[in-house]
Amino acid sequence: MTETIEKIEHLDKKRAKEHKEKEILRSSVTLKVLRANRAAGEPARYDTYEVPVQRSTTVLDALLWAKQSKDHSIGIRYSCRMASCGSCGMKINGIPRLACYTKVSELEGSTITCEPLANFPHLRDLVTDFSQFFAHHKDMKPYVQNKAADLDPSQITKLSEFLQTPEDVDKFLQFSYCIKCGLCYSACPTVAMDTRFPGPQALGQAYRYFADTRDGASKDRLDMVDEKHGIFRCHFAGSCSTVCPKGVDPALGIQLLRGHLLGFSKSEKKAAELKDRSKA
């Protein structure tokens, strides 16, 4: 077991060195935060806060430090701080990201600019209105449509699952990593032009249920997205997939759905394999 300890010590040193080389370590940064209460008719302004940081500090940590120590009135939506709940999407230095999943040390420059997501109605400071985004998701009927979907609790003894092989699961699994954070929607140039376009999140979910062998509504799902403001509005900028913090590839889901609409499809399993995020 001393071998393990030697390995740990060696790796600790190596890691410390790598961090020094890769990361930009500062003792403080300037947060530049867009402020406005839209309901009160306020015009937007930027407030700046000098925030002390450590190697592990995320943009969310920095914002909450500013809120708690400098200005209690900063409006921000946040919850899990581990990139699972999807609350803290915002534009950080112009790019849609999760504040909890962006470390200060990853960002260049000594000023970090935080602004609300684009393509969402602005409410206050860093908070936007998600109603339309959620409505697009709901429009996709994002649930298993199958006569046998609801089980009868009185038949508790005669139960079984729908059989699915690991390969069946892989066909839709990566699309079910979606946390509905809205980053893809904010990055989508088509959404910016046409608010009736469902957007990458909703279309990704349409594919997720389309590809699930438990679902029996494939044809309806194709019809649903094939309309004037529908799937063919996408001009494949691919920015949705670039900004997704969970490695979901909505652009791929859109292409696969189009393939089915046009009557051809490639090997979906291979195509839908999750990107190895550690190499990203």
């Binding site: 077991m1 393990t4 300890i5 740990i8 790796l11 890691r15 961090h19 209460n37 309901a39 190697r55 592990s56 809120k67 708690q68 120590s69 209690h72 009135s73 409006g75 921000i76 919850s79 899990c80 701080r81 581990m82 699972s84 709940c85 999807g86 609350s87 999943y101 470390k103 409410l123 206050r124 209105d129 959620f134 709901k138 009927k141 649930y143 298993v144 199958n146 979907a149 089980l151 609790p153 508790i156 139960l159 699952e161 729908f162 059989l163 699915q164 092989t165 690991p166 699994l173 079910s176 990593y177 979606c178 946390i179 249920y209 699930d212 438990r214 679902d215 190895d276 995020r277 550690s278």
Partner: protein, 570 residues
């Protein structure tokens, strides 16, 4: 005040229990209108962070059986769990697993296409049903999406509930719509509180920032008892400095815990189960190792141990532990494929909650509670991993059905809201908090309180520490921190934060008083000055009732069916 909003069933909280309850109430009678009120957007509740598994007996033909799951749960609870409740949990779980499957849950599969299960701490059979290492997230997504099938489920995203309205029965709640800041009354004959745990009363915590005891405190202020609040689970593997959880599934897959000698030290403390002993046992063992000088020092100054997964191999880790690998790389700077990761015991779960019976019914007619907010005594003094998501969905369904039945029966009866109570609540939150004055920063008070809980009410406790913590919390309560500097009406999280801090202080007090009164060591509550379990005096539940001077304490009997308490060894 705006007009009251009426529904048939009000569900407060939108985690696994709340959403499962919504579906079960809405499906019971399509003419009922079911509302889900959440202080977050409903799909963002802390249940999304559950990682490792959901316990259920699926493979009796391969050697598992319900009796074993029941007994493991009761033994895990250090015999403080109500035995009829454990039985109800176990018997209902297989149905829920298959129902989730039918609703689209991406359970991990075996080669034969059937649902896979993995090992988890304290169980005699691998019965943690899993979907990689994101079980809670997928369950939430499955339930959220399934809710969208029902036109009679109404979501209220970002409505902060402040109080329960009652006479001899439940009548409704008051809430603030965060977007507009409007104070509103909700009326309904039936309610279910599903507001989750309160783990943010500790600084080092796996919980989301939103996991504050608003719902517990609402019930407490409405005269309902909080039960067994001194039992706080410290999960062995939280990473530093954030406290984010590394799932027990990591040890279920074969991970080792090692000390600074490179030893798998669990062989000294639980030779039978090693790293897969229940969480209270593993956490105590880790702290003992640290106290005896066999810990590591993290760069942040924390003492810690290491979790070694390197021997599992890159392929298996990528397949079933991808989420925690991502967490390790991002939040700890460690790739678990290459090297062991630093971990230490972290506040993870509250066994206590709103006093409820085996049906999830509270002491107030018309009001139920489910999930972590509830204490129907499934878990007693210590919860087994993978039994909490199970509890949420089982009692979500049960309470949803019962609330729906009650709402149908009450449909023809008229009731009225006490305007006096509404006025008193407006006064409490607007005069007492929003327009309050003072020079003390409420966020500093919160930090002092949570740091005190970390220092004095952690894995090991004693009289001196608990008394000093109680004194501290009472001092903090009396300081001039009840004021809101943000004067805007719209999306005022400063206002909701201060209301949260108010409820956190009251709840911390209940935890500490309960811990002081329980002069024994049982499950997660370990007293160095009373190191032995004392069944003669303490084989009973703690109850706490609200009074303006502080909690009034009482006791409540444990339900036994077939299992006599024995010494708990692993």
């Amino acid at each position: 005040m705006a007009d009251a909003i009426s529904h048939d069933v009000l569900i407060i909280g939108s985690g696994l229990a709340g959403l499962r309850a919504a579906i079960s109430a809405a499906a019971a009678d399509r003419s009922l209108s079911v509302a889900v009120l959440s202080k977050v957007q409903v799909m963002r509740s802390h249940s999304v962070s559950a990682e490792g598994g959901t316990a259920a007996v699926l493979y009796e033909e391969e050697g598992d059986n319900p009796e074993s799951h029941i007994y493991d749960t009761i033994k895990g609870s250090d015999f403080l769990g109500d035995q009829d409740v454990a039985e109800r949990l176990v018997k209902n779980m297989p149905f829920e697993i298959y129902q989730m499957d039918h609703w689209g849950m991406p359970w991990s599969r075996r080669k034969d296409g059937r649902i896979a299960q993995r090992k988890f701490g304290g169980y005699s059979f691998p019965r943690a049903t899993f979907a990689q290492d994101k079980v809670g997230f997928y369950l939430m997504q499955t339930l959220y999406d399934t809710c969208l099938k029902y036109d009679n489920i109404h979501f209220y995203n970002e409505w902060f509930c402040t109080s329960i309205l009652r006479d001899s029965a439940f009548r409704g709640v008051t809430a603030i719509e965060m977007k507009t800041g409007d104070f509103t009354v909700f009326k309904a004959p039936a309610g279910i509180i599903c507001t989750g745990g309160a783990g943010r009363i500790f600084s080092f915590s796996t919980y989301a920032f939103s996991s504050t005891p608003d719902g517990l405190d609402m019930a407490f202020r409405a005269g309902l008892a909080l039960k067994d609040m001194e039992f706080v689970q410290f999960h062995p593997t939280g990473i530093m400095p954030s406290g984010i959880l590394i799932t027990e599934g990591a040890r279920g897959e074969g991970g080792y815990l090692i000390n600074n000698k490179g030893e798998r030290f669990m062989s000294k403390y639980a030779p039978g189960k090693m790293e897969l002993a229940p969480r209270d046992v593993v956490s105590r063992s880790m702290i003992k190792e640290i106290q005896e000088g066999r810990g590591f020092k993290h760069e942040t100054g924390f003492d810690c141990m290491k979790l070694d997964l390197t021997h599992l191999g890159a392929e298996r880790i990528k397949e079933v532990l991808a989420g925690i690998r991502e967490i390790g790389i991002k939040f700890s700077g460690v790739d678990i494929i290459d090297e062991p990761i630093e971990v230490r015991p972290v506040c993870h779960y509250m066994m206590g909650g709103i006093h409820a019976n085996v049906d999830g019914a509270t002491e107030l007619p018309g009001l139920w509670t489910a999930g972590e907010a509830a204490c129907n005594s499934t878990h007693g003094a210590n919860r087994l991993g993978a039994n909490s998501t199970s509890e949420c969905i089982v009692w979500g369904r049960i309470t949803g059905e019962l609330a729906a039945e009650h709402a149908v029966a009450e449909k023809t009866r008229s009731s009225s809201i006490s305007q006096e109570q509404v006025a008193a609540e407006e006064k409490r939150i607007y005069d007492g908090i929003f327009r309050g004055a003072g020079s003390v920063n409420p966020y500093d008070v919160r930090k002092e309180m949570t740091d005190t809980m970390d220092a004095k009410a952690y894995v090991f406790r004693n009289e001196e520490g608990l008394s000093s913590a109680l004194k501290k919390v009472r001092e903090l309560k009396a300081q001039m921190w009840k004021h809101v500097d943000d004067k805007a009406k719209e999306y005022n999280t400063n206002f909701t934060n201060v209301m949260e801090i108010d409820s956190m202080l009251r709840t911390a007090e209940v935890v500490l008083v309960g811990a002081l009164n329980r002069k024994e060591s049982r499950g997660a509550h370990a007293r160095t000055d009373y190191p032995v379990r004392d069944d003669a005096n303490f084989l009973r539940h703690t109850l706490a009732y609200h009074t303006p001077e502080g909690p009034r304490m009482d006791w409540h009997p444990v339900v036994f069916t077939r299992y006599a308490p024995v010494e708990r060894k692993y």
